[in-house]
Symmetry: C2
């Protein structure tokens, strides 16, 4: 049998090296997220080149991109290792962070603000379907996974649910669990919009990343089982530590 | 009746102005994505301040953030307007871009590469569950919405499906539709991982954004109805033009 010996990336041959490096970085980023490297050690440059049919220079450029993203570290004699595990938060069902990361690390929360407010910003009141004058509860938490910042969560809660949440253990618990205990029922659904933005300097400082680093900005409106919205959140998530994952089905129902 | 006159954002009072600006920017970004401003014109600074209970300075800082993100433009005498509509691509079901944006604009594709390749990169072959030597088809397209770059899509397809896609109208069609025509059946499901990264200079140039701008990097593996994977994609999406949207349900089944 004749073996095909043409390099797997020869079709990139005429393309700028930067594009070949980007393609390789994409594949490696996904493998890091899938926890594909035993002990977090990446193969050496030669081996990576063979696996991906890429030149040594393209491999180096790809690793440089991943280092800039904060995913890997390279040390002489030690090689290339994954700096921090990258977790995939499911967008398949509604879960809190600690719940989602059960068994993968300890989530702790620095409660920066937790107060009842006499009036809600108009845009928030409208999302929560209450008059601004009904007031509510505002909670801001810096969430850490195994001691390192992961996300900055800000929540506006309706006043009834919010008061119960204020009385709960905001340092160690997901807000979702506290809401469900207060309501005596499971949550229903949430509408989520995911944005990618460059971190402003203040957020970057809190999250321990460089200013301008790409982060997720999630807007999430969570409802009780009866459909009533109770929690309007804005969440900044470090994109070097977390990816979002979903399984999409063809021809499934479109939910508005 | 006594009206509560305390500012809705007084609980931010002691916080750095940057944090109040970020909260306001978050609310406005979401409203832009929801197409909440008639004719794309934002209220003036005074009105925004009133609506959000925010100081004029915080309003100005928030608008500066959104301008840096490329969402709005500000002109003396005209005011603040949405620069480009921001679309929300559903993560609820599996749809192609043109399909998703039906009625909202015209998607055209610049086909940069469309070739059969004799061997696949090992990481891609493994995702597609074929030997690397089975070869495949590589397609790279710069996708535009109403003439402006929206995403850079790279696909590795299995050789059987890929050949049919190569024979199809890659300039004007979604790959999904071409696959379904070739297979004579609907697609099944896709696993998607969403990353946020800073655009490398080459990608930034192609997409018409500044180097380092936050973009989505999607890895999507699409399967036929019988479960066989046929399309492994890496997609860069301009985050100033698109958000991702999902509805999450509590206690729903976890799909792996």
């Amino acid at each position: 049998m004749t073996r095909v010996t043409v390099s797997a990336m020869d079709h990139h041959g005429g393309r700028p090296r930067a594009e070949r490096a980007r393609a390789l970085a994409d594949a490696l980023r996904q493998q890091i997220t899938d926890d594909a490297f035993a002990d977090g050690v990446l193969p050496d440059e030669r081996d990576l080149g063979r696996r991906f049919g890429a030149s040594r220079n393209a491999v180096r450029d790809a690793l440089a991109l991943l280092r800039e993203e904060g995913l890997i570290t390279r040390r002489r004699g030690v090689g290339t290792t994954v700096l921090l595990p990258k977790y995939a938060h499911g967008l398949d069902r509604l879960t809190g962070l600690a719940e989602e990361l059960t068994g993968r690390g300890t989530v702790t929360n620095e409660v920066r603000v937790a107060v009842e407010v006499p009036a809600l910003p108009a845009a928030i009141a409208s999302r929560l379907e209450v008059p601004a004058g009904a007031g509510g509860v505002y909670v801001e938490r810096l969430r850490r996974l195994d001691g390192l910042p992961l996300s900055l969560d800000t929540s506006y809660l309706t006043v009834d649910v919010g008061r119960a949440v204020l009385a709960g253990d905001l340092r160690d618990r997901d807000v979702f669990g506290l809401i469900e205990e207060a309501a005596g029922a499971r949550l229903g659904r949430a509408e989520v919009a995911v944005h990618a933005v460059n971190a402003d300097p203040g957020t970057a400082r809190l999250l321990g990343i460089g200013p301008g680093a790409a982060v997720f900005a999630l807007e999430r409106l969570t409802r009780l089982a009866d459909g009533r919205p109770v929690d309007a959140e804005s969440i900044r998530i470090r994109a070097d530590r977390m990816a979002l994952r979903a399984t999409l089905r063809r021809g499934g129902p479109r939910t508005s």
